[in-house]
Symmetry: C2
Subunit: 140 residues, 2 copies
Amino acid sequence: MKPNDILQQHEVKKTLSRIALIKALQTSEQPLSENEIRDRMLDQYDRITFYRNVQTLSESGILHRIVIDNTHVKYALNCCEKEHHHAIDHVHFYCKECGKTVCLDEVPVQQYPLPDGFKLDECDVVIKGYCKDCPGNHNA
Amino acid sequence: MKPNDILQQHEVKKTLSRIALIKALQTSEQPLSENEIRDRMLDQYDRITFYRNVQTLSESGILHRIVIDNTHVKYALNCCEKEHHHAIDHVHFYCKECGKTVCLDEVPVQQYPLPDGFKLDECDVVIKGYCKDCPGNHNA
DNA sequence: GTAATTAATGAAACAATGTTTCAACTAAAG
DNA sequence: CTTTAGTTGAAACATTGTTTCATTAATTAC
């Protein structure tokens, strides 16, 4: 799907930086870090605009943030019209060696029981380990 | 259990700042943020030492870090001799209104299936919502 | 297509969280 | 009580993210 159409469909302004951001994410199968996005946006990249667009576009359901831990955050387009504003709907895998992050779309999140009176809003599941290409796989 | 004994049992040096850190965490039923710990440590608190002790004491299995998101991190003593170096073994609940964090020790974490060749190391589950004391509970 | 309106941009400055280096110090062991 | 090895705290830095404000670009009306 073209960046232009995505933006129009979600009723946010079509600006050059947003189109460049979406294009950058479309060049990858996997979620990308800010640095990886910056490298793909070249001179279209501005840090402040990036953060603002991440906020706007995630609120409108175009992309979502994946918090691996307090120092690693990834960004990914919402696949296939599923409008997950946060990373509610699927499990994420993070390779501790190469940093590759995978959305495990097909894996449903368990319904965890909460104490009485508590209300669920979202549930983030991050699995950390080693992907099949990484040697860390053989060490432990 | 006394801070001194905890440190001895895990074979790390008994220093004033470590004892103060453990004492601070023992004053609370729930995991605490750095600021909450600082307030409890008073003049025994030093930022750099704090971060170093968090690292040392979590490696030795005395406490663990709970990453709520990229801007909210909590710290908690490992309860009952369970030596979870990371927050592997239990689910955490975070109240989006008051920030209260609860370790749901009794809740087992589902074994999520991974793609072929991928290896699990840890699985972090953070449930966000509203605790029973918070009005956000009634808004949504 | 042009003017008016509204929202987005980018610069500067800031805030929070965490790390590194290095000299001074303290805990544990002999 | 002395030695040794690990710990501390100061200074400086790195990363991620936010706020304000003037400028600029995108949409709407004409």
